[in-house]
């Protein structure tokens, strides 16, 4: 097995879950998130040899994810009309409370604007501010202001849905 394949396998095992959650936070659709995950890692595979280590590998992978998400949904807008109620929000008495809360959180994230969805998901994944700033090419100062606003927005949306 080539060293590229080994390296790729390591990256996949370390980041696939995170990337998948990021894609799910963005699309709100698990099928789409699966497709996006594959697309992200195909790009990782194609560009692995070009990666010169100028940034952290996580930053590089998150950036690919963010770019792929934003480009993919727009290019496939017609086919990918998201139906959150149908695809993600399967809140029912059968599923447990934690699962309901997670699904509700995804629903609330989907109500944010596209870039905010990605930023907040990165934050929920505990990616440091400096890294989010690098991934999104926003200055750290500007990002802090944005994050403060998005956090408030998300908390408000969540509380609103929780009361219903």
């Amino acid at each position: 097995m080539s060293s590229t394949e080994n390296q790729f396998k390591d990256l996949y095992s370390n980041y696939s879950q995170k990337v998948h959650r990021l894609c799910l936070g963005y699309t709100g659709d698990s099928m789409l998130a699966d497709d996006l995950l594959q697309e992200v890692f195909i790009k990782v595979w194609e560009n692995l040899e070009k990666f010169r280590g100028e940034s952290q590998v996580s930053t590089w992978i998150y950036r690919i994810t963010v770019n792929t998400c934003l480009l993919y949904l727009r290019a496939n807008k017609k086919q990918t009309k998201i139906d959150l109620e149908k695809n993600v929000l399967k809140i029912s008495e059968e599923t447990n409370d934690t699962e309901n809360q997670i699904q509700l959180l995804y629903k609330c994230i989907s109500e944010l604007n596209e870039a905010d969805r990605l930023i907040i998901t990165l934050l929920l994944e505990e990616v440091p501010y400096a890294e989010i700033a690098e991934v999104t090419s926003i200055s750290e100062g500007n990002l802090r202001v944005k994050i403060h606003r998005i956090k408030q927005q998300l908390s408000t949306i969540y509380s609103k849905h929780e009361r219903i």
Binding site: K43, N47, E126
Partner: protein, 197 residues
Amino acid sequence: MKEFNTLQEIWKQQKQTTLPDVSLIIAKAKKEKASYTNKVLVQVATLVLVLPFLIWIGTAINFKMTSTYIGLGLMFVCITGFSIVRLFQMKTLREIDFTQNPTVSLNQLEKYYAFQQIVSTKISLAYFIILNIAFGFYFIEVMQPMSTMLKSIFLILYIGWMLVAYLYIGKKQKQKEYGRIQKMMDAIKQIEEQYEK
């Protein structure tokens, strides 16, 4: 209002999802690369097949008029030139790096788009004109033995086909290519706008 920390705690409670096996992703990535290589190979093969065919016509048939050779020469130049441009375009598009920050990708896409516009307008028009001049030269001798009726039918069909190819098929193809790139550029611009808000 729910505290963000509480939301983060909820987020952390997610279970691991079953994801596609890594070997499946590797296989898919290899297949995509092969499919791109095949596209390039088809383009190169077309070029490689057409050019020797033109050379063969020019050498195997003893044409009497210089105009026929001029026609064949122009076709040769035209097809070689245009194929090189298309291959270059394909290579440039392939090299756009979507792993960079959006501004860099946008810059590369805009350069590609500008070049694509030159190809679709000036270069395509020049190709169309030169190729038709080439056929014009070639037909002078080739059509000589034909009756006037046959010549007329042949010319009507030829001109008709060229017009359909240029005005309909070509334009449709260009729109498709433009649309794809334009969508990507719009998407990146919107990404930047949203980040700036």
